[in-house]
């Protein structure tokens, strides 16, 4: 059979050391080849079947290295799907694997539907006929589940904004259509390039906002912006190091040696975090340090999660209490560090200040309490409606891909307007944006344009 090339992350979402992006289809090898840079210029399209190759994934758009990978090339028919299959093994956790997937999708592959690899295996005769019913159940069940996920997300801000945006586009489209189908109709002002430009720019701006505010999408692209705060020398950099298992931040006993903001990406039990260590937030005369402090305050304001570190070995200070005040209303985990030293802190007061937020005690020096901290982080984000299932993940990834495509369509509309392309042709790109946004919320029925046309305008002979 002649199918397009599909791709998905085939390892479960979580803290696994290796994540695999799998491609299947005629273009699998050439798409992978396009974003792969092997040792000594080796090309994937030239390698023998069922071999594995070391190299890097490069973003062809800017030449940047995205990930260090091992790529397995398996050619049809001796593969799971009986199509050409490429598996890209990434080691950098969820964030980078997601970037690899995005690259594959922007370079010609389509995101696989739930169960689609299995379906292809079946369609291509890899799976026994007697399993037909099972496959159908799978398709049904997975699609329904995907729909449930879609539905639960529909209640969110994302889908509300998309609905609003689609309505804006729809009204604009109807306006263009009415000019075309009822050229003599006097009640509507002619849609001008200028008017259309305003609308298109508004739509682009809103899509940008969506891309920024769609929390799930943001987590997947960047990780949760997690800011570590605390007075100097409470162990902030040690905490960061413990989580990263690497020694990148400078750690000393002298207060104020961490002068700049340090960022690290880390995957904690399936929650992608962008860890930000700040220079100690405290009033200081040192100019260099003050710049660091100001940036820290800005970081705190923009954070998704705050890790507030206190010293077990010191009494709570006014500064500590001010920190609690600063992060009021945010997602906070309180970490009381240095339990290897004698207790001087008033834990009851800490719990009182934490006001329901989780409090974890650690000794980063003795590597105690880190498990509990990781558990607290994962608890915070994987309870409630959003499940840590690969489906949630996939549909989010799909949203991002669709939003990017929609944005691209709007940008093409804008450049069409700039170069004076007639409105009814520019409109093709706007319609495409409208359809793409509709795919996110599962609604692309074309008829709604005609409904809009007749409810918005009084038409007829």
């Amino acid at each position: 059979m002649d199918f397009d090339t599909i791709a998905a992350i085939s390892t479960p979402m979580g803290e696994g050391a290796i994540a695999i992006v799998r491609l299947s289809g005629n273009e699998a090898v050439s798409i992978a080849d396009h974003i792969f840079k092997g040792v000594g210029g080796k090309r994937l399209k030239d390698v023998p079947s069922h071999t594995i190759h070391y190299g890097h994934i490069i973003d062809p758009a800017n030449g940047q290295t995205v990930e260090e990978v091992m790529v397995a090339v398996m050619r049809a028919p001796k593969t799971f799907t009986r199509e050409d299959v490429v598996e890209i093994n990434c080691h950098g956790g969820l964030i980078s694997v997601n970037r690899v997937l995005q690259l594959v999708l922007t370079n010609g592959a389509r995101l696989a539907e739930p169960g689609e690899f299995t379906k292809r295996a079946f369609l291509n005769g890899r799976i026994d006929l007697s399993q037909a019913e099972a496959v159908i159940d799978l398709i049904r069940a997975k699609t329904d589940r995907a729909m449930n996920v879609a539905l639960s997300q529909m209640e969110g801000r994302l889908s509300n904004m998309i609905r609003h945006l689609r309505q804006t586009i729809l009204e604009t489209l109807a306006h263009v259509e009415v000019n075309i189908d009822y050229p003599e109709y006097d009640d509507v002002e002619e849609m001008t390039h200028q008017l259309l430009m305003e609308k298109a720019k508004y739509v682009r701006e809103q899509i940008d906002r969506l891309l920024q505010t769609a929390q799930q999408g943001k987590i997947l692209r960047e990780g949760l912006a997690t800011v570590i705060i605390g007075r100097p020398n409470v162990g902030k950099s040690s905490l960061l190091n413990s989580l990263v298992h690497e020694n990148k931040a400078i750690v000393t006993d002298i207060p104020g040696t961490t002068r700049d903001v340090i960022e690290e990406y880390v995957n904690v039990r399936g929650v992608p975090l962008k860890l930000i260590d700040t220079a100690g937030i405290r009033e200081t005369e040192d100019i260099v340090e003050r710049i660091g402090v100001e940036r820290s305050r800005q970081m705190v304001k923009e954070a998704d999660l705050i890790l507030l570190v206190l010293n077990f070995n010191e009494e709570l200070t006014k500064e500590d209490e001010e920190l609690f005040e600063t992060v009021k209303g945010m997602d906070v985990i309180v970490i009381v560090n240095k339990t290897d030293l004698p207790q001087k802190i008033d834990m009851e007061r800490v719990i009182q200040l934490a006001n329901g937020h989780p409090v974890v005690t650690t000794s980063l020096l003795e590597e105690r309490g880190i498990e509990e901290l990781e558990e607290a982080i994962s608890q915070l984000f994987f309870t409630g409606a959003v499940e840590a299932s690969d489906l949630t993940y996939v549909s989010n990834s799909r949203h991002i891909a669709l939003l990017h495509q929609a944005k691209k369509a709007v940008e093409e509309a804008i450049s069409g307007i700039e170069t004076g392309i007639p409105i009814d042709i520019v409109q093709i790109d706007l319609t495409r944006a409208w359809e793409l946004l509709g795919e996110i919320i599962g609604d692309t029925i074309h008829e709604s344009l005609i409904d809009q046309l007749f409810s918005q305008f009084c038409l007829g002979k």
């Binding site: 539907e113 009084c458 038409l459």
Partner: protein, 629 residues
């Protein structure tokens, strides 16, 4: 008295816009054809607007012409005014519209029918079909004549159980007080067809001599020669204007006050009317804040004083219609000649048809036009042509013709009807076509002449001309794609004059043409051709080069869809034997019986999971088939 009236290849019932195309196409393809109509004086009659074309519809007329149909030629011979619409917009949405001399239009069409070899024109009323074992074999008229044929096309328009309603008056009638067709409607129900009740309407007509045109605005035709048909060479130059006026506050008050007398609101009318053609009372109720509505005054012909009051479609009582007319500037003294009315009629639920327009229920029986739930002469004619072609080809043992959504608006129209059905009289709109940049007014010949030629409706002479045009387009495109324009002072001057930025380097003529400010005329100055390039070739070259990127995008979309179109579903597939289909999807699939996966995916209520399941079954070749009972 029952008797044998004769045997034919094809019988067409009805001689409206669908019937005329069906009969002519069948006869011209070589099928011995009989056309039966209720009233020979009403051939190709326009009971509503005396107008042909408009956005989308005008493109259909061009398509009909490219396929070898008659509508374009007939209107070119009989219009009183012609205009190109949307000239300020892109090439995809330009369309012609003509005001017809409705009487001349009829006479010309009748003459064409009468002079057609292979075609017999007959007045009579078909009351039932001869159906044996689910196969249509002919028709029986009210006089007892039995006519036999290999295939039958029904194009009875709004005549099926037609009822005219004016105020509280309601009587059985076809349009314009013609005989309705009641027995045929009952007979179709007996055969098992599902019928639906639709409604449409028409405005009053007034005497031109009683209109004060000084209070209206003139709407002249174009002063450049225009024609629908690619074969028309002589143009009517003597055009008549239309006139524009508006409703007033007083008009609205009268309608408001008398709304209870409107059968639309009294509950007397049950049929669904079209949203795109609302009555004046509907417009005022639904858009109460709009202070005025446009009223176009359109002459019905050169040899009549009757004027069609476009925009005033109504079924209010006659005396209210008179009051309304008197409130409109220019019509204060207008003499009412015919009152507006609403008409309710039966239509066949179109999902009961194959995309060839053959009915699924009765083999060799086709339906086309308003009987299929559409509205508009052009939509009717387009279907008539396709039904006529397919009926004739079936009779002659040839393969059927189905136009796709990327071939023609006619393809969009028929696919919409048979796949989605319609819950109001269906009208084509440009927004219904997803590939409208490909389905242009100007390239209908490029899209469809080959098809028309292959089915035998395009003459050899015309085809050779067409091939020459095609070759000329390619040649000129190639020339512009290779010709390098160098930045000489003369060249820069021309570009500056056009408002563009100067060249830095040599540029291909084609690339320069892509700049928005450049036209083919500019390019001709900078890169003159050795020979004279005809205007229709220039038009194509310019559009194809200027919008190349967008056209390419559309073509890619079509290509993607083709894969799905090529996955055929056998006609005898048994959807009940496929486990896993959702109930709604199963019902819809059983009703529509799509021919391809692409068509299946366009049915509302059939979701991607159902399509996947269908694919699984199709690919495994394990389709449970209906046993041959």
């Amino acid at each position: 008295m029952e008797y044998h009236g004769g045997s034919y290849d094809v019988i067409v019932v009805g001689a409206g816009h669908a019937g005329c195309e069906a009969g002519l196409a069948a006869a011209r393809i070589g099928a011995k054809t009989l056309m039966i109509t209720l009233n020979l004086d009403m051939v190709a009659f326009m009971p509503c607007n005396p107008s042909i074309g408009g956005p989308a519809k005008g493109i259909v007329v061009r398509e009909i012409d490219a396929l070898g149909g008659e509508m374009a030629k007939n209107i070119d011979k009989t219009y009183i005014q012609i205009r190109m619409l949307n000239t300020g917009k892109g090439p995809a949405v330009r369309a012609l519209r003509a005001q017809a001399d409705k009487f001349l239009y009829q006479h010309e069409m009748k003459k064409t029918l009468e002079n057609e070899e292979n075609l017999t024109l007959l007045q009579g009323k078909v009351e039932r079909l001869i159906v044996e074992d689910g196969v249509c074999k002919g028709v029986v008229t009210h006089t007892g004549a039995h006519y036999y044929a290999k295939t039958v096309v029904i194009t009875t328009g709004t005549f099926l159980r037609g009822e005219i309603i004016i105020g509280d008056i309601k009587y059985s009638s076809g349009p314009n007080n013609q005989q309705p067709s009641i027995k045929l409607s009952e007979h179709l129900e007996e055969l098992g067809f599902e019928l639906v009740r639709f409604k449409t309407g028409t405005p009053p007509r007034v005497n031109s001599r009683s209109i004060d045109y000084s209070k209206t605005e003139i709407q002249p035709g174009d002063d450049v020669p225009r024609a629908f048909s690619y074969e028309t060479t002589e143009y009517i130059t003597d055009q008549l204007p239309c006139w524009l006026t508006y409703t007033t506050e007083e008009t609205h008050q009268i309608i408001d006050k008398n709304l209870h007398l409107s059968p639309m609101y009294s509950g007397m009318i049950k049929g669904t009317g079209p949203r795109y053609c609302p009555s004046i009372e509907d417009k005022i109720v639904r858009f109460h804040d709009k202070p005025r509505h446009q009223i176009f005054l359109e002459p019905e012909g050169r040899n009549t004083e009757e004027v069609y009051v476009q925009g005033l479609s109504t079924s209010l009582p006659e005396h209210i219609q008179r009051q309304i007319l008197a409130t409109i500037p220019g019509l204060e003294q207008a003499q009412l000649m015919r009152a507006g009315y609403a008409i309710e009629y039966d239509a066949v639920v179109p999902t009961q048809l194959w995309p060839t327009l053959e009915t699924k229920l009765v083999k060799n029986l086709y339906t086309a036009g308003q009987i299929n739930g559409t509205s508009g002469y052009e939509e009717a004619a387009g279907q008539g042509l396709i039904a006529g072609i397919n009926a004739a080809r079936r009779a002659l043992g040839k393969e059927e013709l189905i136009l796709s959504r990327s071939d023609a608006y006619i393809g969009v129209l028929i696919d919409d009807l048979v796949t989605k059905g319609t819950n109001e009289p269906y009208r084509l709109l440009t927004s219904r076509a997803e590939y409208r940049l490909l389905l242009r007014h100007d390239n209908a010949d490029l899209r469809l002449t080959d098809i028309g030629y292959n089915i035998g409706l395009i003459s050899e002479e015309r085809y050779q001309k067409f091939l020459a045009k095609k070759a000329a387009i390619e040649k000129e495109k190639k020339r512009l794609q290779t010709y390098i324009i160098k930045p000489t002072p003369e060249v820069q001057e021309v570009i500056r004059q056009a408002g563009g930025s100067e060249l830095k380097d040599g540029i291909r003529a084609a690339d320069l043409l892509k700049r928005p400010e450049m036209t083919y005329e500019h390019i001709q100055l900078l890169a003159p051709a050795d020979e004279d390039i005809p205007a229709d070739v220039v038009e194509q070259v310019e559009i194809q080069i200027k919008y190349e990127g967008y056209i390419e995008k559309s073509l890619q979309q079509v290509e993607r869809l083709k894969k799905m179109e090529n996955k055929k579903i056998p006609e005898d597939i048994d959807y009940d034997a496929i486990t896993g289909l959702a109930t709604e999807a199963r019902q819809k699939l059983k009703q529509v019986r799509p021919l391809s996966i692409a068509q299946a995916s366009r049915i509302s209520g059939v979701n991607p999971a159902d399509i996947s399941i269908l694919l699984v079954y199709l690919e495994q070749g394990r389709i449970a088939r209906v046993s041959n009972e």
